[in-house]
Amino acid sequence: MTSYYDPQDLARFSEIGKDAPELAAKFFEYYGAVMAEGELTAREKSLIALAVAHAVQCPYCIDAYAKECLEQGSNTAEMTEAVHVAAAIRGGASLVHGLQMRNVVDKLSL
């Protein structure tokens, strides 16, 4: 392996249950329920998942949800906009914490 991330590991996700099967089962049940069609469509959920995958910078999830978005009929313009949503929230979250910085500075300053 030449990298910390191996694309083949994506298909081995279920092995995460090896030493804690009950916890893994609970997680996969929850995961399945979250991603199932609900108030949001499967297509909308896969776009959200794609955006979150970029926010948490998970290459496995980017791989899986880029494919899933295509198979749900999303186009690359929608997928790119979803990535921008992730970027905007990440950027905005950093910037809004600037107010905490200001609060600290204000408290300490004359």
Partner: protein
């Protein structure tokens, strides 16, 4: 008649035939009510997913004599539908003659259009002819977004397709109450499975209406078949193995009863018969031997076996290819 002879199975089909056997299924004909007519490989586009490798430099086209033989067979065989495809049938000399003869021979004639050939300035009369003959148009549009449409079908195809659809709408195609059917076909723009047909139809309806005021009747989503130019691209891009594996794992036994080859027979530009257009692309003949339309007295009979091949998995993946 030769139609009842069992079709020999090429070696590549073992996997598909075995899969059918595992489910206790056999691929045999029901009533064959559709005559699909491949008018040739000449096309103004060179789509990257084309299983026939059609394009501007292809010379294979149906001549007028064969057109008459095919139209005679359509009438003699009591077919319900004639499905005219290509290449771009609009470019075949004498296509007006074939369409006119078919319209007199069968209740329903369908013309597959890539949406760019039908609006070429010297072919607009074809749209008018189709309208007058009430021919059903089945038009390729992979996506409502230019990047995917142009990637599959060529640069500028999206703009041209939009203009063509708007023009067809002005002729009455796709409009309620006209009886002029305008159907769309969407193949995925790459090595992935098509989205759910019903949802995709809803999205296309909304997007095409909102962006360009276009209306249509129905949309069909089909997986790309790993043959011809699409297979070459799959291999060159390193996607072949995973794509075929994806089709295989998506095998849906319930799709087998609705497969188009159970109700359709495909005739090529020279008048030879095949079980379907994909077998035609691969050179697999109906019943394993050359059978010309002039020698056929009726459609293949119910119960006749159908040759299978690896590419059949594209027809049984998910909701199927009907």
């Amino acid at each position: 008649m030769q139609e009842t002879q069992p079709a020999p199975c090429p070696s590549a089909c073992v996997g598909f035939a075995q899969t059918l056997a595992q489910y206790g299924l056999r691929l045999v004909r029901e009533q064959t009510h559709t005559l699909q007519i491949n008018t040739g490989l000449l096309c103004n586009q060179s789509c990257r997913h084309c299983h026939l490798e059609a394009g501007p430099s292809r010379k294979e086209v149906m001549d007028r004599k064969t057109m008459d033989q095919v139209a005679d067979y359509a009438a003699r065989g009591g077919f319900q539908t004639a499905d005219v495809t290509g290449g771009a049938p609009e470019m075949v000399p004498g296509i007006d003659h074939l369409l006119t003869r078919l319209a007199a021979a069968v209740p329903r004639v369908m013309l597959r259009s890539n949406l760019t050939a039908i609006t070429d300035s010297d072919r607009e009369h074809l749209g008018l002819l189709c309208r007058d003959l009430k021919i059903v148009l089945v038009c390729s549009l992979p996506a409502t977004h230019a990047s995917q449409t142009d990637a599959q079908r060529g640069s500028g195809v999206m703009d041209c397709s939009v203009s063509a659809l708007q023009w067809l709408n002005t002729l009455g195609y796709g409009q309620p109450g006209t009886g002029l059917e305008l159907n769309l076909v969407s193949n995925p723009a790459g090595a992935f499975m098509p989205p759910d047909q019903g949802r995709t139809e809803e999205r296309f309806r909304r997007d095409l209406q909102r962006k360009w005021g276009i209306v249509f009747n129905s949309l069909y989503t089909f997986a790309n078949v790993p043959l011809g130019r699409f297979r070459t691209w799959l291999e060159a891009s390193g996607n072949y193995e995973q794509y075929v594996a994806r089709l295989t794992e998506a095998f849906n036994p319930e799709a087998v009863t609705g497969l188009m080859c159970r109700n359709l027979v495909s005739v090529d530009w020279s008048g030879e018969l095949h079980d379907c257009d994909f077998h035609l692309a691969k050179g697999i003949l109906l019943g394993g031997m050359r059978q010309h339309v002039t020698k056929m007295h009726s459609p293949p009979i119910p119960g006749a076996s159908i040759a299978t091949a690896e590419h059949c998995y594209a027809c049984t993946a998910g909701s199927g290819f009907t």
